[in-house]
Amino acid sequence: MTSRRLATGGLIGRDETIKFTLGSTTYAGFAGDTVASAALANGIARVGDSIYLRRPRGVMTCGVEEPNAFVRVEGGYGESMLPATTLELADDLQMTWEDGIGTLDQSVDDAEYDHMHVHTDVAIVGAGPAGLSAARAAVATGVRVTLLEQDFALGGSLLGRPGEQVEGRPAHEWVQQVRAELEAAPNCRILLRTSVFGSYDNNYLVALEKRTGHLTTEGMSRQRVWHLIVGRVVLATGSFERSLIFAGNDRPGVMLASAAQAYLGRFGVLVGERVVVFTTNDSAYPVAADLAAVGATVTVLDARPSAGCQLPPAVDVRFGMVVVETLGDEVVTGVRIASADGSDVVPQELECDLLAVSGGWSPNVSLHSQRQGALRWDERLVGFVPTAPVARQALAGAVLGTSWTEGCLSEGAAAGADEVSPVHAGERADRAGATADLWLVPGPHGDLATHFVDPQRDNTAADVVRAVGAGMRSVEHVKRYTSISTGLDQGKIGGVLTIGLLTQLLSAPDMAAVPAGQPGQVVGDGAEDGEVNEGGRATNASMRPSPGALGTTTFRAPFTPVAFVALAGRSRGQLYDPARLTPSHGRQVELGARFEDVGQWKRAWYFARHGEDMDAAVARECRAARENVAYMDATTLGKIEVRGADAATFLNRIYTNAFAKLAVGKQRYGVMCRPDGMVFDDGVTFRLADDRFVMTTTTGGAARVLEWLEEWSQTEWPDLDVWFTSVTEQWTTIAVVGPRSRQVVAALAPDLDVSKEGFEFMAFRDTTLASGIPARIARVTFSGELAFEINVSGWYGQSLWDDVSAAGESLGITPYGTETMHVLRAEKAYPIVGQDTDGTVTPQDLGMSWVVSTKKEFVGKRSYERASHNATGRKQLVSLLPLDTTLRLPEGSQVIEQAAAPEGPLDGPARMPIPMIGHVTSSYHSQAIGRSFALALVKDGRDRVGQQAVASFGGRFVPVEIGDAVVYDKEGTRRDG
């Protein structure tokens, strides 16, 4: 293949050769190339075939809108579906062309990806002439400025026209000059290779920065997601050139005119030597001029009767002419042309190796529209343009239709300085000149099968015609019927073309079924300027089908694709929701603990000694707690300080039981319910002073409860003087449990009277431990045994653990975990919220009517008057005793009546539904009663005590006896030791 790189020109580093591989061939390019420019320079006209029709395709654009040229990068951080037009050439890149479908690399990505969260006064998106000018002006005002550009070079559209004069010097020199100024300014940050892909409420921008190549990580994060909270956003995002719909418009060698210009100007690549330029507007003339200037033979076919600009020398210009078809096998070798008005019956042929197309320009309104910024169809610019910026944003340059560099500079400068644009709206259209209202050129064969609208999705005008024939009227339906705009470019290529085409396919009466409220839609009668976007009023049935009457599909983030892993950032592996560990976690590890995840916490589950399995360990731990003394880490329980003059009143409303008169120095167990009366959380609350409480919550419920308290306080009872502080991490709590716990605590806290009389149940005392550590010790039990909970500052947590172990050593004190805790409390029928309850269980259902006040108001109270709370059939907490005393029912087993049980086991789902009366919530082997038992919620369970039922699990049906929920020490004789 012949090289298409010119000997001179372009902004590439010609002294730095870069080797890369495409398929099995190695090529050379230069620093500053993209994969596409290097491929084109090497004469590669064909890229991957099209996705469904398997047609040959070539590079069509020079940017993020590319629909055809995608590569998979192999090795290292292999990645699929990367547009060759934006992928920076790097040494040893190994790539294959892809044909519309990627291949995922299945290995774990061990590179680093990170996130930055920054505030900036002004963020400028896009570093073309408007953006650079805006940055310069904003920097001059002294505020913090961030300039974000997705390309690896500054300059935007100027990159393609490096010779253009800007402020008296060639464009690329001007860009370097501005760059130097900005880099020298202390208040400016320039982020290259950074695509702002999302724009959210309150000027919150999200951007992806590509920091390293595809093969290495170079000791830094590969990619970074920037989260910017911005004072003022300047969108200088430019515009996209449109193609036109004609037969064979997808053949390799058909390219957007501006892309052909950019490959030449920026990369020194002359993509074709015999060029046909097919245009509907003036913007293609400078392209023709540039191509002709380096020796290409150029013919311009202008669909209009005349041009609005000076015609370039040495270019053959033919007005009123259009391309009706491309010719060639794999690549374009010629075009068939005809007169635009159809008067010319015999098409002529023209030879060419490049067809450069300009169908007009569409402002790049994506970020504007993501914020519901309004659009309107501008009849003269022939594009959807923003009507006005959204709050605290400005627009500048081609995104508004400002097409001339000087206009972009002055508009950018105004936007940067927060001033009104000096460019008058009408001037934009005047300067741009007329654009022919041309979307589709009928082909010579009568069909539309190769008239591509969205080449990436292989959708043609025929598909759009078919959609309309099927009854589709709105652009959203046409998109979905065809799949246009669903590819990587998300409609950058096919979106407006489809809308334009629809205006030719629909009639006025059809418009009645077109819903109002699409972005860009005119509400009114096809007027040129209209209010947009708010929906509400219907489009007028007599409205002629213009793009403005149809509107666009919705623009959504991301503007350009973003790798999942970049969004995950550091929140992966062990940093994904980092585990919370208690201060004595290390000690528990040393003791052989196995842990379970409870909420975000790691909790010791059980401590297996040599050779023990879990059952053996738990049995031993249970015996220790019931017969001797044992200890556990209870630090993870949520703790919330509740303070204020109305703290007691507040708690009294939140908990179902009374808290108003709780004495200072006492604690009380409380249950809180949702308004529907269902148990929400529970725990013990200490009263430290008249206006000060410490509430404990379940481990997993802590955050939820804090939010709950805040919600009630802030939205329902703002009159109450009360506030809340999470103190979970400030405290370490060790529970010392068992008949001999008093001895251990006495040794730990010599100043404390731990006698039954001196330290009654549900009291707490502040004291100083023998170690000198200040502590708050509470008498409370979650096992029914005599027990103390020692609370110290979190800093002393490990020390306390050690002290408890030492103090109990001679007694054989045994550490235990959550499993043993669960067994002990289940024997006493103390419920675990979330395990024995599921949001459908009231305190009464749990057999805890005693905790529900009948005197005061509290959250949930009214619900107890509802019919369902007073009807029979409520599920109540009971115990189940399997007749086989060694059988531990799986938790989750269902309970059915004896009569409902089938004869034998089931090896699949039941043929007819078998009615269930309840389910097993907790199930264990009990050392205390020497058998297995379970807790279950069973319909009218308390009335069934003493009766038999059947538990069903894994297709088995086993008999159980229903018993009182409490299976051990019903009288509570063990509490005081």
């Binding site: 990645e79 959504r556 694709p561 892993v565 995950a568 950032g569 009366g677 599921d838």
Partner: protein, 406 residues
């Protein structure tokens, strides 16, 4: 079906008539539920003077935005009956509607990551099996066998401890489903009227007699509301309230990739669910935004959290690319179960509150709602889902107990 050779939509879908002045039944809302209801009214009850009034484009609400998961392994008997009936209809729907709706019974698994997840999962499986629903509790190794790309290692923050699995569950293509109903309804004479927003009701002595719209007043014998989150706006106009809250729920897709994900995986604990559509894009969803609103867009951090979870569970997704995100508005009741039945206004019926999971219910609820409208009395399937349950307290709490969305 081959990834590069998928069926197209039929030549013709529906007519776009001007509204008549009078119908037997007006259905407000042209989402999945509205369209299915129209179809079953025509087909099962012989009522064809029906208009479906849609204020936007047909099936452009949640129906166009969901992640298309279909399953029936709900916890409570009432839900299981409704969703299982629906699943049975799904199983014959392509034939019935004569439309390729890409219904794929590729199985759905709900992962368990904690001991409590495991308890809840086993409970649901056991209940499902007694209710006649195919459900299994599977081990991490079985998870891996069914879905080889999943990471079941211990090296992640919340390792997979097992999963519930329903083999008959799966996905279908949302637009295609809606259009399949629309096509058959239009074919049977139902008027599908887009760009027609209901802005008020005509009432006569407590009975609804018509609707006001931006395209004029239209009279009707009966009016059925199927407007998802906007139902509360409509019932407010009709003089009663429904207890639903509307929240944004987001979803997203990647670009197309070779098929590597054979099933549907949901994890409530780490909040991600994902399938790979027939074309090859990864389709994912996350948790709801906590605030209320009607703007069909959510918060970005929700997407980021979801990506973390996805990459944890599926290392192969690391360098898949996010191509598009979007939001829908889910209508959530306080027991996360729908409201389907009669209303305090005579001649007015309501079907809403499907929240994050009403796509799968479209065939089942459509038949039941059509029955309700035709007979002015609920079908046994939707009887428990009556509006008055919020007064009696006979709730069907699917979020607390089952802890599974969608």
């Amino acid at each position: 079906m081959k990834q590069r050779d998928l069926p197209e939509h039929p030549e013709f879908l529906w007519h776009n008539p001007e509204p008549s002045s009078m119908y037997d039944v007006i259905i407000v809302g042209g989402g999945g539920h509205g369209l299915a209801t129209a179809y079953y009214l025509a087909k099962n009850h012989g009522i064809t003077r029906i208009a479906v009034l849609e204020r936007g484009w047909l099936a452009g609400g949640n129906m166009a935005r969901n992640t298309t998961i279909i399953r029936s392994n709900y916890l409570w008997d009432e839900s299981a009956a409704m969703y299982e009936q629906s699943l049975k209809l799904w199983e014959g729907l392509e034939d019935e509607l004569d439309y390729d709706i890409f219904f794929s019974q590729r199985g759905v698994m709900n992962l368990a990551h904690t001991l409590q997840d495991e308890r809840d999962s086993v409970r649901r499986v056991e209940a499902n099996r007694l209710n006649g629903i195919d459900a299994e509790w599977i081990t991490p190794e079985q998870v891996k066998e069914l879905c080889p790309i999943i990471n079941i290692g211990q090296d992640i923050r919340y390792p997979v401890m097992g999963a519930t699995y329903q083999p008959r569950a799966g996905i279908a293509k949302h637009d295609w489903v809606a259009w399949a109903y629309a096509r058959r309804a239009s074919d049977m004479g139902v008027d599908l009227i887009q760009n027609c927003e209901v802005t008020g009701f005509e009432m006569d002595h407590g009975r609804v007699t018509g609707v006001h719209t931006n395209r004029g007043t239209i009279h009707a014998g009966r009016v059925a509301l199927a407007a998802a989150g906007h139902t509360s706006v409509l019932t407010e106009m009709a003089g009663f309230r429904v207890p639903i809250q509307s929240h944004p729920l987001q979803a997203l897709v990647s670009e197309l990739h070779d098929i590597i994900h054979p099933t549907v995986v949901m994890s409530n604990h780490v909040h991600v669910y994902v399938s790979q559509a027939h074309k090859g894009e990864l389709v994912m969803g996350a948790g709801v935004d906590p605030y209320n609103g009607y703007g069909q867009r959510g918060s970005f951090h929700v997407i980021e959290q979801q990506m973390s979870a996805a990459v944890e569970l599926f290392p192969a997704f690391s360098r898949a690319h996010l191509l598009r995100t979007w939001g829908g508005i889910v209508d959530v009741t306080l027991d996360a179960s729908p409201i389907v039945g009669l209303t305090p206004v005579e001649g007015m019926y309501v079907n809403c509150g499907w929240g994050t999971g009403g796509f799968k219910a479209v065939p089942g609820a459509g038949t039941a709602f059509a029955h309700t409208i035709a007979n002015n009395a609920p079908h046994p399937l939707n009887e428990p889902f009556a509006l008055d349950r919020f007064e009696t307290g006979a709730l069907i709490d699917e979020h607390g107990a089952a802890a599974v969305a969608h």
